[in-house]
Symmetry: C2
Amino acid sequence: MNNSHEQWIHQVVELASANVREGRGGPFGALVVKDGEVIGTGVNLVTASHDPTAHAEINAIRAACQRLQSFDLSGCDLYTSCEPCPMCLGAIYWARPRAYYFACTRDSAAEAGFDDTFIYDELHLKPSERTIPGHCVTALGGDAPFIEWAQTVQKIRY
Amino acid sequence: MNNSHEQWIHQVVELASANVREGRGGPFGALVVKDGEVIGTGVNLVTASHDPTAHAEINAIRAACQRLQSFDLSGCDLYTSCEPCPMCLGAIYWARPRAYYFACTRDSAAEAGFDDTFIYDELHLKPSERTIPGHCVTALGGDAPFIEWAQTVQKIRY
């Protein structure tokens, strides 16, 4: 198990380095392992694909879910070259792998110019006080979709 | 401006309700507006597309970015039927719209069975103490991708 563990970390760091060398995007890679097998990999493709959500972890999760044809990665482990940003951490919670492992921390990312810590700090503020402010516009029937959801018999929970 | 503002909120709530009525997925919708025009919409397609990242906001951001062929939504506003979860809030920070507006809060989402608050609470914990634990595996050259990135002359920052 330890050998495999180090193998995946090594592989994910190499994925990240290759992504830089090959000029595809940022220095990040990720992979999802199930039962000792890689079932999805991802690298950062934000600039190449004009997609700010195309982080390595998001791409690896999406690839693994397509492979399994499931939105649920229970029993899987996620390996990533760097501690996940809040977006990717949120994605991890929705995908529900067993655990995740990273090869360096967000401090290293910040030193390299990727300031995820800024976003982590913003999460602690009230929406209206954030650098990108969020405003709740109430009294316009905003709960209506939830009422419809509650009344729907046939639905797939997630 | 106020009229448009209410119009977008109305439209995004209707997107969310229609998604439930048409059996596609969860009760969430989002849209991105630039210069008074909708440039991308999204609904929750987690179950339909086997993709735990396919939240309404993520899908709307991705659609708008494809339309603009840019990973940057500066100058845009994002409207969403419900306060964003941490994943979608992270995506908002990476896409950098001017602001976002939501029709109901995460408390309403929690009452409807979508417990984003749980994820927000988890973010405050150390990675190793979270329900889905994160472990840093150091001393394995984890910084190597960042070193390669720093040494790369031709790169697109994001």
